[in-house]
Amino acid sequence: MARRVAIVGTGQTYHKSHRPDVTSREMIKEAVSSALADAELTIRDIDAIVIGNMDHFESINYVDTYSVEGSGGVMKPIMKVTTGGTTGATVAIAAYYHVSSGFFDRVLAIGFEKNSESDTTGAIITCSDPVWDRFSYSGAIPSLATEATAYMEKYGATQEDAALIAERDRGHAMNNPYAHLRRPLTVADIMASPMLAYPIKLGDICPRSDGACAIVLAADGIAQKITGKPAWFKAAAVRHTYTWFGDSTDYNKGLVSMQRASKDAYAQAGITKPVDEIDVAELYLPYTWAGLKWIEDIGFCGPGEASKFVGDGHTHMGGKLPINPSGGVISTNCIGATALLRVAEAAIQVMGKGDTRQVPDVRNAIATGFGGCFWSDIVILSSERP
């Protein structure tokens, strides 16, 4: 039977727009070293490694074999998993199965990206099918803008409602020393920022960052010896539902992958009332409307209620369900690491290591990944051994 698994250490770089001082491999080593230090382990204690990024952002084929000097993978098992924006969560979940299957006791999960080394949009548009979608409907922004207008049309949400998400997350980032953008941004600033694709303005979307993240997972019985407060996996759910962008044109249905993944995750974790039972959320919100629409899909509030739910302050620090104490993706986006940062930040909250960004008394934390063709990954961590 599957073993219980916990996160026992996390590490991340100080995220920046450019890291000229290091190569990807050297940047990875910073995150790995800091995760090992957090768990008070050495690389010798690690049985296996899972790593992921997006190939075309650094143009490195086989980063598993490229990275070993930095990942610690010399003469160790290492595997690469990659699923676009969800990669970081995919890596964490793969590491979880490495341990729960019984094959490995202590596993490192690593995500990284050096977005400064390439043309992010030039690379991302190639995710679309070369025959059908690439000419017509590609890149991250057009599909998200379409989703946003559909949401505005249906529920009457305003651009100011959305801008509040970025104001919140950028405000939270002020508490996170690792965040890339640590300048507050107001609703007025966002409304005044240049329009990219209606209704998405520059202030509504995530930046491009250089950074890496690593977490250490350990099996039941070992985890407790490593730390007094492990962050136990209660659920890992994945739904990569669409293959074609055209299949997702019924935006009125909401983010179906998130609805399905969260249903699966809540069933695994035994959660029936997410808002009451979850204490903090680290959500992969690459643009502001996601902070409205997707929190409905994940069940934090009913359809069309997000503007009020967020407006009432429930998701700010001190609210009943703080979202993104780290500052989230709007403040830091090193893509291959982004979803792993969500998992790591959720673990930090459960382990009580959040310092100035700590939410008090966290029992259950939820982390999500978003990517690919409107895909969702969900991890629920808990201070209670399941």
Binding site: D55, H56, T83
Partner: protein, 380 residues
């Protein structure tokens, strides 16, 4: 480890150019065939692992191309970017974590990309990329290091090509079944010395699938379950100059761990047939040394002594191996599938008599930097 088995397999014929099928078409075909083979429906499979590579597919998030085709709708799905043996290992982990059945699918179309550019991308962008080195020229360096160290002649490694292309005549999926002689290999065009055209794999298109399940499902499947007895992977250093290219230490380590798991003490006695990933002829003897079938340097003598030929004590690559079809990534999964067919006794004209325990191996990275070794058996 709990028990898990390979319960369904499928391949399509490997070809130089599949003009009539896109990735999703190929993957749909192998998914359906693997399900039929297992006697399962897509609803019995609760988990999916796809295997692909963004460089080779010319597409960011290459897994997106096949999510629907392999039944990934509303299922836990992920993508391993690497050889199929690694993807299958991830699938196995999910089954042993409590999922009922995982389908692992791999696709590749060599005909659509430029293998020199995509494999040049394996090398360090700062120090090595500009030198233009790629999978072929780096393999040739390894061949030179290996052959010089042990005094191996080009004729010796040519025998591997003769054997495997000959074996491919018994494999309906193989791309290059050929009757050739050592002399033919020796006379073929020089590619990168000591490798000649017939020492190198072809460029191939293809797809393959395996279904891995726990004991409950395995008991209900149509075919004899092929039990996983041991599996392990390991990676060595990255820079070619940091490695001893004539000594595959990562393979040795992976094999040691897989053997320990499977209770194999003497590989040449305990294993009945092996399928190894040898896109270049010299790799087969070198990998057999790493797998502990013989002493270092003695790999080529296994053919001369008749051990690794059909009818020998340990036939290696009855399928014809990667020399006879090398859809990259798929090729490792094909090794596992061929090994499973041997264990089932369903390998047709390429069947090794009384094969019960089989080995399959695949690798990632230049010159076999990171290996994965599987031991499978008809015995639980």
């Amino acid at each position: 480890m709990d028990k898990a088995a390979i319960v369904g397999v499928a391949q399509i014929k490997y070809e130089r150019r599949k003009k009539d099928q896109i990735f999703a078409d190929m993957v749909f075909d192998v998914t359906r065939e693997a399900l039929d083979d297992a006697g399962l429906t897509i609803h019995d499979v609760d988990n999916v692992v796809t295997v692909s590579n963004d460089f080779f597919d010319g597409r960011t998030i290459s897994g997106m191309a096949v999510g629907d085709a392999c039944g990934g709708q509303d299922k836990n799905i992920s993508t391993v970017s690497g050889d199929g043996t690694f993807g299958a290992f991830y699938g196995l982990m999910r089954v042993l974590s409590g999922y009922k059945a995982t389908i692992v699918v791999a696709h590749y179309k060599g005909s659509e990309g430029d293998i020199n550019i995509t494999t040049n991308g394996m090398f360090d962008p700062v120090f090595h990329r500009h030198l233009g080195i790629d999978a072929v020229s780096s393999a040739a360096l390894q061949a030179n290091a290996y052959m010089t160290r042990y005094g191996i002649r080009e004729e010796d490694i040519a025998q591997v090509s003769v054997k495997n292309h000959g074996n491919a005549k018994n494999n309906p999926f193989a791309q290059l079944p050929m009757d050739i002689t050592v002399n033919d290999v020796m006379k073929s065009r020089k590619i990168a010395e000591p490798l000649k055209l017939l020492d190198c794999c072809p460029i191939s298109d293809g797809a393959a699938a395996v279904i891995i399940a726990g004991e409950d499902i395995a008991a209900k499947c149509r075919k004899k379950p092929v039990w996983v007895r041991g599996v392990a992977h390991c990676c060595e250093e990255y820079f070619l100059g940091d490695r001893d290219l004539s000594n595959p230490v990562a393979l040795r380590e992976a094999a040691t761990r897989a053997y320990a798991m499977a209770g194999i003490r003497n590989p040449i006695e305990d294993i009945d047939v092996a399928e190894v990933l040898e896109p270049f002829s010299y790799m087969e003897p070198l990998w057999l040394e790493g797998l502990g079938f013989c002493e270092p340097g003695a790999g080529c003598s296994l053919i001369t002594k008749g051990i690794t030929v059909m009818g020998g004590k340990l036939p290696v690559n009855p399928s014809g191996g990667a020399l006879s079809a090398n859809p990259v990534l798929v090729a490792g999964l094909a090794r596992l599938i061929e090994a499973a067919l041997q264990v089932r006794g369903e390998a047709g004209a390429r069947q090794v008599k009384n094969a019960d325990t089989a080995l399959a191996q695949g690798f990632n990275g230049p010159c076999g930097q990171s290996h994965c070794v599987w031991i499978i058996s008809g015995t639980k």
